[in-house]
Symmetry: C2
Subunit: 208 residues, 2 copies
DNA sequence: TGTCAATTGTCAGCGGCTGTCACTAGCCTC
DNA sequence: GAGGCTAGTGACAGCCGCTGACAATTGACA
């Protein structure tokens, strides 16, 4: 069974994460100090850094959950599916089941608001983009394995994933700055944008 | 004519930038303190921050030069050229004329080595990616204007640029981790990867 | 040459982050 | 269930990036 110690640790971590996100989404990221977070949870500042490698990590921890979910979804896609199609399905699946992953720690609404904070805070956005690249590398490896290729010898997996990732970033950005900040809107945007990529690259824009 | 004051300022900035890059490429970014840079130039630490918004900015200043050049190249492309083709040409042009821009401040070789440092230093890579996104937004606006479109109403410019940017990032990464770290190698890689994007997205990978 | 303005140095201080060490509290064995 | 063991924590000191404020200096220009 679960030891008391482990449960206590989990509670401290959850409390820190919850409090951090709460403060970040209300006061803003830069305007919140680690000391304030620690104090609100009644823990020393040093302890905060024992749970999170840095202030950034606490801000991106929720995102990380969603990303892990997405990677898992890709892994579980049928092997006969075309790579790009698998990515598309996995992303949509990810959005549909967001609450299952997030709700265990914080309300989904807080996750969405935190997303906006990330997008509008330069240093957080930067860290977020870097993690995206790491994720893309992971996904490229998964696809390569599915197709029996060597990621380092054949650039196609990485290329496909990068293209897909590029489209998703545009989608995310459009979504986070738009009015309808709901999961459904994200779903619709994703489908719409993915459909437009092909034409946008090949057809003439002016003769719409 | 140029005032003495202005010349002195320019010299200080150049010295700071040169020294910073030199230290970053030899000792490493994290292992170099701003105090050390300032001391090496015989200037107070405070002065360093009057020339650069932060340590990061000094590390990315050379990159910024190349980026500005690239954006300019896109602007100067003939208006009847297809968007993606314009980007392709501008990138290649940028690489071919790199030395004209960089050599005025530091040897090109230092620029290349600094590139590697950026790619291998998480915090620098993050900042670099964020700047890339800003550049992509700029480029999208340029393309939209060329084609007489509204960037915020029509997603195609941003989509095309994001896709292109994705491919370029894969290219850069491959290049910076490969053996042939020359400008020519970058040229060849760029051409090769851009050619493979279409097939990678549409054709089946296994039946190569 | 003397006045004005731009540039720099000095000092003080905040916030993120880390190493160290002592202390507490859960765990496990006998 | 007493005692030893160790994971987890707090307290403290200190480095580094960065900023505001003010004084000192140095070029510009009448």
């Amino acid at each position: 069974m679960e030891t008391l110690r482990a449960r206590k640790k989990q509670r401290t971590r959850d409390a820190l994460l919850r409090t951090a996100v709460e403060l970040f989404t209300t006061r803003g990221y830069e305007e919140t100090t680690v000391d304030e977070i620690a104090e609100a949870v009644d823990v020393s500042q040093r302890t905060f850094f024992r749970y999170f490698a840095g202030k950034e990590e606490a801000a991106l921890a929720l995102q990380e959950l969603a990303v892990l979910r997405f990677v898992e979804a890709v892994r579980e896609r049928p092997a006969d599916e075309a790579p790009v199609q698998a990515l598309r399905q996995a992303v949509l699946e990810g959005w549909d089941t967001l609450h299952e992953v997030i709700e265990a720690v914080v309300p989904v609404e807080l996750y969405l608001r935190m997303h906006r904070v990330i997008e509008s805070t330069p240093v957080l956005l930067a860290a977020h983009l870097r993690r995206n690249e790491e994720t893309e590398d992971t996904i490229a490896r998964v696809l390569a394995e599915r197709e029996g290729l060597d990621v380092d010898a054949d650039p196609r997996p990485r290329l496909a994933v990068a293209v897909f990732g590029g489209v998703m970033r545009v989608t995310e950005r459009q979504w986070s700055t738009g009015e309808d900040f709901s999961v459904e809107a994200m779903r619709a945007l994703t489908i719409s944008y993915l459909e437009q990529v092909g034409p946008a690259l090949t057809e003439r824009w002016r003769t719409r």
